[in-house]
Symmetry: C2
């Protein structure tokens, strides 16, 4: 059993000035903690920021903690806010954007697969 606080986890700045803007990532639970099947990650997207517009062979399961934004897919934009959750299917093009004035905080879970290294 392992319990920790999000504030104590090291944060990685993913901003590259191109497809990833003002986005920070914390890996909360992964193989390192003994997770056998899926990883729990925490993302903060600052105002004006977004994740890449991309797709991959694995799904996302999301829970939105704080802030306002949109989940973009080829079907358009869907608003996200605290206590929303989302499922993005494998192969689906997607992007998370902060459309508000506060940090958008969200959980993003992915399966542990050979082609999806942490």
């Amino acid at each position: 059993m392992y319990v920790e606080r999000v504030e104590n986890i090291e944060e990685k700045d993913l901003h590259n000035g191109e497809e990833i803007i003002k986005t920070l990532k914390k890996v909360l639970i992964s193989e390192k903690e003994g997770a056998p099947n899926f990883r729990l990650r925490h993302f903060t997207i600052k105002p004006g920021g977004h994740t890449p517009w991309h797709s991959h062979d694995w799904e996302h399961e999301n829970y939105f903690l704080r802030g306002e934004g949109v989940l973009v897919t080829e079907k358009g934009e869907t608003e996200i806010s605290p206590d929303c959750f989302a499922f993005v299917a494998p192969g689906e093009q997607h992007q998370y954007k902060n459309t508000g004035n506060e940090p958008l905080e969200m959980l993003c879970l992915v399966p542990i697969t050979e082609d999806n290294p942490e």
Copy 2:
């Protein structure tokens, strides 16, 4: 892609007056929404409530949203509060207890396996 609000999901009362006290469950993402690998569930444990003291062959990954409580294992009690997260390994005896005056709200993710039907 599927986005929904927690408040719109049907809640099941698990209270049985014995090993499960004042505990409510919502299944947010499962096979029904096309999830291939793991399920996202939301639990509310009311003041004085707790989940069963039990173990099973699959892990839990938890994120604590609101309220105060403890995660009990054979090593004792560990305090949980908002923005804590936990990993409970497969086979580990565990129980979640609300020790506060407000509902304890938490996410609990489990792998989709043959011996773990929803």
